[in-house]
Amino acid sequence: MDNKDLHFKGQQSNETMICFFRHHWICLIREISYFIIFLLIIIFTLSKIETIKEILRGERELKLLFITGFLLGTIYLHRFFIKMMNHFLNIRIITNLRIIDHQKTLFFRDTMDAIDMIQIQNIERIGEGLLPNVLKYGDIKIYLNASSAVHTLAYVPNDKFHFRCITRQKESLQQRLQTRTHTGLENARDSESPTTSVYGIIHEKKSEPASKNEKF
């Protein structure tokens, strides 16, 4: 199985992407509301454009004021669309091996934080308030082993589903590791001198001669 960079940059060969999600749309409500007000102002301005032209003709100071307003409006227009596109670039990915929090914007930010499933000690889902319960979003807190570090995934859409997804992937990985340990222990009983890795997985020493096709 070679899944290297299949769905995202940095995906490992043996890593399978389970799902990904973005922030809940509630984060964009403020921007969308302001944009609707902005649109209403623009529509009103365009409806009175002839009056504005008559006022501006020959008035240098008013033209300067108009340019300032035009510049601010143009900047706000760009800011809105760039913010909307940034929403799509900010993703969280759940794979069979880890959780990746990719905070990215078009121009200024590109931060990737990966949490190994093995490092997760505890997961907590927080859904407090009317809006989170009605609109089905919440925070997921991930407590890590061997440290007091807590990683919070805020505004997770359909938080119950993603909470279950992370829990099941964690359990699945633990079961796979236990199975490998168990199999290794059984093989170790039959083999001559086993070695033990950091995670307690028993590796069998190879006593058979190497075949012609085997790469070293």
């Binding site: 964009l28 340019i67 227009l77 596109m85 799509f88 078009l106």
Partner: protein, 74 residues
């Protein structure tokens, strides 16, 4: 050409450059990340980033055309 017209055209040119840069960055991101979009990952279960990129370009072009018409008829 008056100072007013020059400044307006300068703002339009910078505006177009920013728009094209943003869309180019977005498509560069698309080339590296092939994430399978489903209904639940889209905004309001319909809109994707490509929709916003197209809308952005159309809005900026409309903005440019209206401004040029305004300058010519002033």
């Amino acid at each position: 050409m008056s100072v007013f017209t020059t400044l307006m055209i300068l703002i339009l040119v910078v505006s177009l450059i920013v728009c094209l840069l943003s869309v180019w960055r977005l498509f560069a991101y698309n080339s590296k990340y092939h994430l399978p979009e489903i209904r639940y990952t889209k905004l309001f279960q319909i809109l994707t980033k490509e929709h916003f990129a197209i809308l952005y370009v159309l809005v900026i072009l409309l903005h440019t055309m209206i401004t040029i018409w305004f300058i010519l008829t002033l």
